[in-house]
């Protein structure tokens, strides 16, 4: 086995050539090899894990053989052309059933087909039932044909890669088009809803959102939009936005322990009196709000955390915890 066997087989797969139909470009090279070398048989072989498969064949009936009786498996282990003038005198081949029985192969010359990464995938080879050898000119010609076969293989791989790139591009374009369509539809829905907003006497939204910090801006942006539509002052809109950011981040961080598979419930009510009521509920174990340390205490003022609830209380008119600390309800009146 070649030392790079696993990588070699992986490379062979990349060419997507095994078990494909015959192709003129390869067949012509096998034919020329057979005619120039004057042999009744010529093959373009590809050595797979347990078989050798023939992309082109001249004077050979079958399309593949077991690798165990393959001549080419030896050829791909060496650099340059492997020439066996008489297989009966070659230790590797003398007991091969293709030598001891039909088709009684005697002569073999195989030029390894090497990829741009240095893996020998198979050979261009010529075979004869008579013991013989090749002239220097024939060896040179066989090597030239080998280069042409390699070029055909590389061309094929480039085409495969090009097709893959085109398919990936088409898929990405289709996904992008679908996404744009979704966004367009969502935007149209939003505009319709938004147009109704100034006329709504009472709005109520109940949302279940994933415990993912990335979901927070969509939620806060939505509430900002509603309050702006209702003519709230800029500072108050900002206060509600900040309080929501805090409340939802707190619920994700503490109530859900940052587990994005969990979900939060967020209910927003805006009634005719101009008061917004926001409730954020998490599935966590709850907590005792009275046990939260005062962040303004000199001992706590330089601590990195513990300001969230304090901030919400400072921004909203009324803040209370229910359900053992699992639900936070906060209210603010329009000025």
């Amino acid at each position: 086995m070649p030392p790079d066997e696993a990588a070699r087989l992986a490379a062979l797969r990349q060419y997507r050539i095994l078990d494909t139909e015959p192709e003129r470009n390869f067949d012509d090279l096998a034919l020329l090899a057979s005619q120039i070398c004057g042999t009744p048989m010529a093959l373009i072989t590809l050595v797979d894990a347990s078989r050798q498969w023939f992309k082109s064949r001249v004077g050979v009936e079958f399309i593949e053989t077991s690798r165990a009786i393959s001549f080419c498996t030896h050829a791909i282990e060496q650099a340059g052309i492997m020439i066996v003038p008489d297989a009966r005198e070659d230790a590797r081949l003398r007991d091969n059933p293709q030598v001891t029985g039909a088709p009684y192969i005697r002569f073999y010359a195989g030029a390894p087909l090497v990829t741009r990464d240095g893996h020998a995938l198979g050979t261009l080879c010529v075979l004869d039932r008579e013991a013989r050898t090749l002239t220097a000119e024939q060896i040179q010609a066989l090597d030239a044909l080998r280069r042409q076969a390699e070029a055909q293989l590389e061309l094929r791989r480039n085409l495969v890669e090009l097709q893959q790139a085109l398919t990936a591009r088409d898929r990405a374009e289709a996904e992008q088009a679908a996404l744009i369509e979704q966004l367009r539809a969502a935007y149209a829905d939003l505009r319709r809803l938004s147009a109704l907003m100034p006329f709504c006497s009472t709005c109520q939204f109940t949302m279940t959102i994933p415990a993912d910090p990335a979901a927070i801006p969509a939620l806060t942006d939505g509430v900002v939009q509603v309050l702006q539509d209702k003519g709230w002052a800029e500072d108050d809109v900002m206060a509600v936005e900040l309080a929501m950011q805090e409340a939802v981040a707190n619920a994700i961080r503490h109530g859900c322990r940052g587990d994005r598979s969990k979900q939060l419930e967020c209910a927003i009510t805006l009634d005719g009196s101009g008061e917004v009521v926001i409730t954020v509920r998490d599935p966590g174990p709850g907590f005792d709000p009275s046990a939260v340390a005062n962040p303004l205490d000199p001992a706590n003022v330089l601590k990195p955390s513990g300001r969230g609830i304090f901030l919400i209380t400072g921004l909203m008119d009324d803040v209370r915890f229910t359900d053992g600390g699992r639900a936070l309800q906060m209210r603010k009146k329009k000025a």
Partner: protein, 117 residues
């Protein structure tokens, strides 16, 4: 959030843009300031002008880096507090903890002028 870095003498200016909130800008800010402190670049000005959202985690991160910088004999000062960040700092009573400036020049110069001088 994105973070651009400039140097004026031995003072490093960090210009933040985007959301300095839980799980967004906080980690980036921590890593960058810790890197600076490890290189003994302890005079740091954080420009908040282009910060679009800030929460208690963002503020908490600024406090934590301030403490680290002061432990190394340096400081973290704030530049261009937006209304939003000003409000969060005000409620959290952090306006007395941080030195904040409206001009870059004043922020940079403050490192060579003792406070109150």
């Amino acid at each position: 959030m994105t973070l651009a870095e400039r140097r004026v003498g031995d003072v490093t200016l960090l210009e933040l843009a985007g959301r300095l909130v839980y799980n967004e800008g906080d980690v980036l800010l921590r890593a960058r300031i810790n890197d600076l402190l490890a290189q003994d670049r302890v005079k740091i000005v954080v420009d908040l002008e282009r910060v679009t959202a800030i929460d208690s985690c963002g503020v908490g991160e600024l406090v934590a880096r301030l403490v680290s910088a002061r432990q190394k004999g340096g400081n973290v000062k704030l530049l261009h507090l937006s209304r939003r960040s000003h409000r969060v700092m005000e409620i959290s009573k952090l306006l007395d903890v941080f030195e904040a400036f409206d001009s870059e020049r004043a922020a940079v110069d403050s490192f060579s002028t003792p406070r109150g001088a």
